[in-house]
Symmetry: D2
């Protein structure tokens, strides 16, 4: 199913920005660990409020990963698309995903 979006992280020559997949993965693994930690709290029948505080922390960490990935995307793909005359679609797409994030 090769389509033009399959490897967009392979930015066109001249782009200064590249997504840092290693950093993303590390943060996502930490978040996975946090989610398992919350599961343990539930299994140990811990106090609701303590669990809610942890859930808020995981949600905050996910939001931070999202903002970081959004930044990489704008600095890389969107800027490149605008420079190469394909900005319209890239801009519409990124505005949609920002609205999606902001509505939760």
């Amino acid at each position: 199913m090769a389509h033009e979006h399959d490897h967009p992280a392979a930015a066109p020559a001249g782009s200064r920005y590249r997504r840092d997949n290693a950093d993303l993965l590390q943060r996502l693994r930490r978040i996975e660990g946090q989610v398992r930690g919350v599961q343990r709290m539930v299994e140990e029948d811990r106090y609701c409020v303590d669990i809610l505080v942890q859930l808020a922390a995981v949600r905050s960490a996910l939001g931070a990963v999202g903002r970081s990935l959004l930044e990489d995307h704008v600095r890389g793909c969107v800027v490149d698309a605008v420079r190469h005359g394909d900005g319209e679609r890239a801009v519409t797409e990124v505005l949609d995903v920002i609205a999606q994030f902001s509505r939760q």
Copy 2:
């Protein structure tokens, strides 16, 4: 470190609400799976916007678990505390955690 919050899910006699730990665990395991799915997307170098859409979905699922746990907590612990004359602390605590959630 046994303190009074260690087993508050063991609600006092007469309480009609109990936290559904089995349901919470099932939802948290699904969220853990979603987080691993996002890791795979990063490893496969998938398109930023597709990853952002998945991150937004995970964040939404975490928010839903939080709201559900908050509801259990208010209907169970907070209502019981108010009835047994210890409402002041329970209410302050739950308002704090709501503010914490709403600021992200």
Copy 3:
């Protein structure tokens, strides 16, 4: 259209909390002034980002008023309702409005 909700701020005897309408009004008037300030910025054709920063400030102020009113409501009406055996409806109602706020 007098119904039971028309004057609930007149809390039953014994309630320790009352909504501070004077404080609420002062904050809402300040917010009204901020909204008019944003209108002036638009009329003067000011820079989008400067306007966005002001809009974010107004939105933050509205959120703070909402959290404050929610706190008064929980400490006053909800606690009284729970004490007087009508907690079920009050709790469902407040959880609904919290969910409504958190989804934006």
Copy 4:
């Protein structure tokens, strides 16, 4: 205090997008009216939950104006800046204001 941001809505020749100030003003005036409506509810000592529902509506309307202005800004100023080689600053600035909005 003339600086380069004083009239950025006057987009450079060739830009296809312009901010619709008339539409923005109309929406901001409606929001001002909503804020005054909430003040009246407080003056009439209306039920907290009814006021909270209105506050949530005003906050939602402000968020919608913010998203709309953000869209105009990205399609206009940011895209132009990228095309004219001044994208770096414009992109950093817009990412900052998005983060500011998303944290409330």
